[in-house]
């Protein structure tokens, strides 16, 4: 037998192959489509530049996510299931960089970020979301970029979590029995418009009777920094993002990386300097993930800057004002607003798209707080944040095509079942946690909002439970199978 070389260096780097001509053409067609959308919409009305900003940042996110295989489900699952830390490391790199850019953007007065209320709901939502994403094989952003790679299973996840959110936020009747009386009384006391029927539906009372009573502050505000530079760089970035990220990285190094690294470098062990070398080796083990984390971190920070700049330029505080001004009032909330976070976000705009479709089928979904009072459900063609999600899929497609990695993959019934089942859990988790792995974790922890770490804690716990259950199930069945072989 011919001895083969041990090839363990840069194992994440794909073989250098030239883009196939047909894939290059397809990539340019996708890119051309989005360029055409941008230019033609701008030609119709210059205010569509606000939509295009979302679109092109979505495109960049898609390219970065696909390039680095950036996925929160992968990060948690690979740690607990197979002891591989590379994705978790990449995410922590992105957290550190995004937090630094965000701090700069905040100091410049261009931040669009608003902190989420701090409460136990984040842990619960993250837990449900985490279990779901392990079973689907992708988080909310991961499922979008995998859709761009041609995975129909990932598309099923996106559709499942989108429609689940619609049904979940509108669920009333029997679900009202699950609402604590204190939430109902608190919701009534808010004197909300009758159109949103705040006492009908579990989610409405969850929002109005519980969430709105919680306080929302960044760490910079909590610590009482009066200087905005100290609040942004010390409170929000250093204390809320960088130090926790470094602690997590150190924990990952000690638990999952150190033993393997030192085993291969036993002869040269020089104490702390060897530990530092090992830590750096872990950070740079997967260049693709590290590069993707770097680009994502910087792009996500710049995104906020651009959106706030455009809001200032166009004289608006919400895209609903643009739509109303352009004569597209359908689907706006009763406050004439639409969902418009001004930064990287995933799940809410997908729920809006599903809600629009459900409404077209004759169901009324605007009688609740989530759509009727806060986010609206505009036509998907006129939903600026949904442009970002669609462009994210497009950007991932372009990157996959350029690397000859695009492949239309139909799921087996089994994979499809898991995708839908996991997507349902992700949809429920996203609504309970007020966001997904991006909106409730990535964008929050990097902007000084400690609620993001609570969601991350729940998501990690959910991922752990999901992996352990799956592992137990497979091992149990493998043991039975081996017994069947009479081993």
């Amino acid at each position: 037998m011919t001895s083969l070389p041990c090839n363990t260096v840069n194992v994440d780097t794909p073989a250098v192959t030239a883009t196939e001509p047909r894939n290059a053409v397809r990539a340019f067609l996708v890119l051309g489509f989005f360029a055409l959308v941008s230019l033609s919409s701008f030609a119709v009305d210059h205010r569509f530049i606000y939509f295009s900003a979302y679109l092109w940042f979505g495109f960049i996110y898609g390219m970065s996510l696909q390039y680095g295989r950036f996925c929160m489900a992968s990060a948690i699952r690979d740690l607990f299931a197979v002891g591989v830390p590379r994705m978790a490391v990449g995410i922590m790199i992105a957290v550190v960089l995004f937090s630094l850019v965000s701090a700069y953007v905040t100091v410049a007065g261009k931040s669009t970020f608003h902190p989420s209320p701090i409460g136990l709901y984040s842990v619960v939502g993250g837990l449900i979301f985490g279990i779901g994403m392990v079973y689907t094989g992708g988080c909310a952003s991961g499922s979008l970029y995998k859709t761009g790679e041609g995975s129909i299973a990932a598309l099923l996840v996106v559709l499942s979590l989108s429609f689940t959110q619609v049904f979940f936020v509108d669920a009333g009747g029997w679900f009202n029995h699950l609402v604590p009386d204190a939430w109902t009384q608190s919701a009534i006391a808010k004197n909300l418009p009758a159109a949103v029927t705040p006492t009908e539906g579990w989610y409405d009372q969850f929002l109005a009777g519980y969430i709105w009573n919680l306080s929302a502050k960044t760490v910079g505000d909590m610590l009482g920094f009066t200087n905005i530079i100290a609040a942004a760089f010390v409170g929000n970035s250093l204390i809320n993002s960088i130090i926790p990220a470094l602690v997590i990285l150190a924990g990952i190094y000690m638990r999952w990386y150190r033993t393997g690294y030192l085993r291969g470098n036993e002869a040269q062990y020089r104490g702390f300097s060897s530990e530092l070398a090992g830590f750096w080796s872990m950070i740079t083990a997967s260049k693709r993930t590290a590069i993707a984390g770097l680009v994502l971190g910087v792009a996500a920070g710049l995104h906020m800057w651009v959106m706030q700049g455009l809001q200032d330029r166009l004289g608006i505080a919400n895209a609903g004002e643009l739509l109303a001004g352009m004569g597209f009032g359908n689907g706006l909330s009763i406050q004439d607003t639409v969902f418009d976070p001004g930064y990287f976000y995933i799940t809410t705009q997908e729920a809006q798209g599903a809600a629009w479709l459900v409404q077209k089928l004759g169901f009324d979904i605007m009688g609740n707080i989530f759509f009727g009072l806060e986010n609206g459900a505009p036509n998907p063609l006129l939903n600026p944040v949904l442009w970002m999600s669609i462009a994210l899929i497009g950007g991932a497609s372009v990157m996959a095509l350029l690397n000859n990695e695009f492949k239309l993959k139909m799921p087996s019934p089994e994979i499809a079942t898991w995708a839908i089942f996991g997507g349902i859990l992700m949809g429920i988790g996203a609504r309970v946690g007020l966001g997904c792995n991006i909106g409730a974790f990535f964008a929050t922890v990097t902007n000084g909002d400690p609620s993001g770490w609570l969601f991350g804690l729940g998501m990690t716990g959910g991922g752990f439970i999901g992996v352990k259950f799956f592992n137990w199930w497979i091992e149990r069945k493998m043991a039975k199978e081996m017994a069947a072989f009479d081993l």
Partner: protein, 146 residues
């Protein structure tokens, strides 16, 4: 009834896993031409084409953990995330990555189980790999082409 509905997908998942295990057990010992390197004898083939990353990674780990020293595996997958994760998890399974071949429909990772380590150096005492000659009666890990 509700419990049945909840666990139905898990049952479906197990059907798929069992099929793959059976498939992996059948496909053993073949010769592969590796461009630029030469000919490689493969003892076991694991086909995860169409699977998601969790199942690909978990089943690969379980099989590699239980494999005997010297066994060469061919792991086929079209899941890009799993393909890139597998080489990183090999040291924990006491395996070495030989080469990854990029094909049009999937990628094939070739892996060899290293020589046994002492229980203390391989983590859990019960997870130390078995020697091939001691396990020659095991159908899934029987390859012997030295």
């Amino acid at each position: 009834m509700l419990l049945h509905e909840i666990f139905k997908p898990i049952g479906l998942a197990w059907v798929g896993i069992r099929q793959r295990l059976a498939r992996a057990g059948r496909a053993s010992v073949k010769q592969v031409d590796v461009p630029g390197y030469g000919t490689l004898w493969v003892d076991e083939s694991l086909n995860f084409v169409g699977d998601n990353c969790l199942r690909t990674n978990l089943l690969t780990k379980l099989v590699l953990d239980k494999a005997i020293s010297g066994t060469v595996f061919e792991i086929s997958s079209d899941n890009l995330s799993a393909i890139e994760t597998i080489p990183f998890m090999l040291p924990n399974c006491n395996c070495e990555h030989l080469v990854t071949l990029h094909e049009e429909t999937c990628q094939r990772i070739y892996v060899r189980k290293r020589e046994s380590r002492t229980p203390s150096s391989s983590g859990k005492a019960g997870s130390a790999p078995r020697e091939r000659q001691q396990q020659s009666d095991q159908p899934n890990f029987r390859g012997n082409r030295e």
